[in-house]
Symmetry: D2
Subunit: 433 residues, 4 copies
């Protein structure tokens, strides 16, 4: 049967590439994947999956880091114009862009696979030699670009769905193929977890396209990712003319400046690496006016969820104290959250054994795990499923890339679109057969 | 003759109002007073003045706080469309918007009067009851508004020019009526001084429309204004992924935050009041990226020029040290500068005597001086003329106002457009008769 | 009678000098003026005054900035050894060192005169040419020195008492001659006020020996002094090994460092000059230990009591917020407090008239007032008496000095010990005659 | 032969204990180990070693963190009074307290063993139940205490010397037994390295008494120690009266406060753990005086020498910038330095094999390495010898302790004084036999 999976992945390789290029061309940022989600839902429906969309698999209030109303509207209109399937369009608008295909085949385990689908807020490279430009599929949406491979993930997801549907008579149990919005900024996973859609999941796995640093085809899991919390902090003070009556102001910027410096001074922790960053600051209205607002985009991280909690608690103390210090009022909004990755050892070994036995042409690494580096909110699903008694891992699919992820000239070797569906489908089959 | 001046001011009152409302309607911000300057030049020419424009009375390199190229172009095109006199249009474009009318009548003193002509970067009040809206003359230029009375100043200037031209056969000496751009942000006076146009001036005076806080019609001078320096400070660092390799960044925001706090901590000075403000900050590009730039709009002030110098020197030390501290590079641009006002005692007494004797219907205050509160770059001209041996004062013209200056619902009682030209012309006549 | 007062002051001049040198030789710091107070009490008793000491005129709990127990004991033992009168010794020990001589002569106003008696914590100059050394009366108490003239004040006080007792048959009303401890650090006046001893006072005055900057003999009042509050701030954190487990510490020094910088950044106030200073910091126990305590000596000031209140309230906000910021606990102790001086205009004019009429040999200044510069807690008594309906002034007695006050080589021309008792007695006589 | 070594160590166990208690009783701090060094030199001489002292094995200028002159003198006089051998007394005074015993036995490798000998600046526990107090050997030097086991190290060193001398006829090569001063604060090792005394060393090893956290007798090496640099930083400003003329001051404390906060804000480093601490601050002279000096005791660390360098370079930038910021002058003194430990793998394996084969009664751990936690300047010798081609390791001798190291009630089970000499001698014998 694994031979057949291999053949199918190869047979659909050109379709997968085509689909990926379509997603790439119509790149959409987090919570705005309207056309993308409609496309996915339509395809899943055509393949024969039960299709769940928007509020059917999302807790609306658990979404984090939403864009403003006007942005929702503009992107809705654009998706409509670009031919988004009206059947799904209304369901996914206003940031309800999660989609899942469900296949129930009697008793057996519940297996979930997750693919993330959002683009980044970048302007894609338009210099000669950038492959997507050359081939005519670079982003037609200014300020949105797939520079992290999620276009690949989404198309691998659809081909995986196709392959598994063809094998469906051999499956026993339930398959849930999840297409998650807003992974960038670690904002989207929580809303799917909180909806209860993962409560019965026995196995969940996902994979990320990653630069090949050696000769291997994949890693069975990732470690050393950071747990992270994203906070928006807004200090509200009182403005006043800076020369005539400085004493009547409440200087939001003095609160912010102290906050910035002191966040960086949170003591190092001997239990492991921690991080803090104030990425952006916007404050004040004019040179001669005491600033009445200062807005900061902040993140803290730790290599364990415990270390991230240490950072977050200390950071909140500082943020609050800096308001008191200059008599301003502070608003703290949680904009994203991810736990540290904690892949199940025996699940990874199980996949390794599968590969060794059934896909001997793959080049396997000696260790199961490879570091992630950043943060990914698949960790949220991982922790959720583990807490509910299931097993999880987050794999690496290795391929050649042209520039580091999140760079405007990022691109990847589409050979991974052959290997990807094959591996993802093979794992599901092995669990459900 | 003073009776005649009074009558002329009254006769032209409605024209002055009309002119003021025109300036108000077509409000233009500092260095962008293209239509305004063309209008003034055209009128002065019609009245019979020798007209000097742009580089004829400005040192191009001494201008401070210029807007970017694109803004110049947009405003040029707009002024053109709005009918700016082509004869002057090319001369005043690209921030060369100073205009002067010169009248030479044989030997005698050189007398200069200065009027400022720029608007503020505000969106004018559009609620019912705002008089300019009601009367149909509120600003048609979104984001530009005369909320500091310079529309009144400019129209008073033109009527003053008209009255004095009618009396010209009685004058002996030289009259220079100066229309100065970019007073807001104290950016424009310097360029006129540096051109040498004031080198031979014996008397210079100006007046500002001010809220009547008691029953008087004017003050003969202002004191307690602040000398001030406006600086833009940009820290340039190196961005890096905040989680993967924070150590490779050079954090421009850490430089900026230290700068902000320490500027406020410059020691108080027992010689008099000082001020410092960081009015705006914009830093960073994304939450998870170490910020590579931070831009600050800063001002320092002191009630004497010496105190302002103390603040500026200390501020520059701090600004530079904060770059070294986090290994960033700093760019400091001077965006404006004004000295403290220092009105000549005997010149003010001379005007008081004139008023008492020739304009007995005016209500005069017991003291010559009243505080300014903020800063005004007429101080630059004042200091320049005084250093060259001349005398100077900066008066207050008191009238009722609807909201404080720089407020979006600011408006003033146009009765001052009667009194204004009368007083300004009377003083010139008394000096040149 | 004023001729007689002049003659008595001259007659006792050598005694006054002798007494001053005795006080200088046995200099005692604030709250420790044990020998000094006993000496004063004994002399007042000999002269025939009713003598009140310690708790009879002090509110024990209103004393501020007390030294530790052991210092009290050491100075008590020393004073005993140096022959302090046992009758008063027990009453004044442990910081109850205020003394007053009271004389009641029937009906009439209540007049109080205040003299301060404490020395500074300095090591007196021991180089050749320092007059007290040369004449053998420099301080025999290492670390205590009369470098602010209070030795002169105390001896002027005793001679004033002597003169007024000789005139007592001509007086009508009540005379209270007050010798106040702990003026340095503005710590002592409050305890006398709070005791109620000044409740019935109609007139209170005092004088300070001051450098003669021109040719005058005295000023009738002082202005521009600062209201001030002295605070000790102690942050208590938790120490930890800085390498092994920094995260377990609560860093008192981080709280303190933020406090220091932000205190200096309290906005300037357009109502007048303010001040802030962190004079000393002591923190930590070892290089590799996160500091668990940091102690700061702080003062704020304002040229009005209102401005001082503005500073104190803002400072307390900052101090408290800095504890929250790094999760430490803060202790704030008020160590001293003085109001701004506010001398009564008509009382000063009354004294001027007296001088002009009865002491025509004195050289008088054109203005009543001269600036104080620093702070003096006579302001506390002044405000207290004024609030209770009385009048008050704080005068300057001008003389030549060798170095600025609070300098280790400070000394003054003892000619002021002739003029001082004469003027102080004459004023009391003029009020009580 | 190893049996004989075991027997000798046992035979001399009581002497070793006696010697350790003598060192404990006369505890001496770093650079002040005068009596201790004389004792060691005398004993080595009696045993037959060539004895090198002070400048014979130290580079005077490479010593770091020296106490002041007066402290040298006081401790010299005390050591003299306590019977220090006059032959060595003059050689070791003024901080030249290193001692070495050298034994040359023909051709063969050069083997060095290092023992550190200084006490800490603590007041020893004087409550019941503290064993040294109970047995009458607690420190008779107030403010000096062996709370890190160096008394044990020194006595182990002498017994090791004794055992090896008894076996000397079996040795081939050169033995250097080094007694190093001032390990606390990582100040002493550098001066021995810089003298050239280690240039020819083929093997160097040392051991530290450590708490037994499990059942093992020793570890063959330590890792994860921190490289560290100790700096004293003194800001020199200008004092001024904080109320009268704050602008004339240069506030050393503002420099210091900024330095403190910003040192803590040095970015985390993804290559590994770093540390920074400002352990103590002393600043200012009086509440109302702008502080003219601020002294800080600082340390930085990194788990590799490279990471420590990153911290030190960044810290120096901050320290210097904070001087510029408030126009003060800064003095930076290096008070100590240690590299990260880097034990040679094959040397550790060699010792493990020795233990397994010749000392089978010892309980050995499965790993060679155990973490150090803090810093130790044996790392300086280790790096020096490795750079010169030799091999090195730093072992743990495990025993029960009563309180953590550097605690005032620290004590250790003296059973380690039996095992210690046995193991240290056995290793040397195995290398030189």
């Amino acid at each position: 049967m694994y031979k057949q999976i291999k053949d199918l992945a190869f047979k659909y390789h050109q379709d997968t590439i085509k689909q990926r290029r379509d997603f790439h061309h119509y790149a959409e940022r987090g919570w705005l994947e309207i056309r993308t989600a409609c496309q996915i839902a339509t395809t899943l429906e055509e393949l024969g999956y039960g299709v769940l969309v928007g509020k059917e698999i999302m807790d609306k209030d658990a979404r984090m880091g939403l864009p403003p109303e006007t942005i929702f509207n503009l992107n809705y209109l654009r998706a409509k114009k670009e031919g988004a399937n009206p059947k799904y369009l209304e369901k996914v608008k206003n940031g309800m862009t999660a989609v899942a295909g469900v296949l129930k085949k009697g008793d057996g385990p519940v297996v979930a696979i997750r693919f993330d689908i959002d683009a980044l807020g970048l302007v894609e490279d338009s210099t000669d030699g950038h492959y997507p430009l050359q081939e005519g599929f670079s982003s037609c949406h200014l300020g949105a670009m797939h520079a992290c491979g999620h276009d690949g993930h989404a198309s691998i997801g659809l081909t995986t769905a196709r392959i598994l549907m063809e094998l469906s008579e051999h499956l026993h149990g339930t398959l849930k193929i999840i297409f998650q919005p807003a992974e960038e900024g670690v904002r989207g996973a929580k809303s799917i977890c909180e909806s209860g859609f993962l409560d019965d999941v026995d196995y969940i796995y996902a994979a990320h396209i990653m630069p090949r640093d050696d000769d291997y085809d994949l890693y069975f899991g990732m470690n050393e990712s950071f747990a992270t919390t994203k906070l928006d902090v807004i200090y509200h003070g009182v403005s006043t003319h800076a020369a005539e009556s400085p004493q009547f102001g409440k200087n939001a910027l003095l609160s912010a400046a102290n906050c910035i410096i002191n966040l960086h001074s949170i003591p190092r922790n001997s239990d492991g690496q921690t991080r803090v960053n104030v990425g952006t600051v916007h404050a004040g209205t004019g040179r001669n006016v005491v600033p009445d607002t200062a807005k900061l985009e902040i993140e803290v991280r730790g290599v364990t969820s415990e270390l991230n909690r240490y950072m977050e608690i200390y950071a909140r103390d500082i943020i609050n104290a800096c308001a008191l210090m200059h008599d301003t009022v502070v608003e703290i909004k949680q904009m994203g959250k991810a736990f540290a990755l904690n892949c199940d050892e025996d699940f990874m070994n199980q996949i390794r054994t599968l590969c060794q036995k059934e896909m001997p042409d793959l080049k396997l690494p000696p260790e199961n795990l490879s570091p992630l580096g950043g943060s990914d909110d698949f960790s949220y699903m991982m922790e959720y499923v583990q807490v509910h008694g299931g097993k999880a891992t987050y794999m690496k699919l290795l391929t050649d890339i042209t520039a580091s992820p999140h760079n405007t000239s990022f691109d990847f070797n589409e050979e991974v679109l052959n290997k990807g569906p094959r591996i993802m489908a093979a794992i599901a089959y092995s669990l459900l057969k």
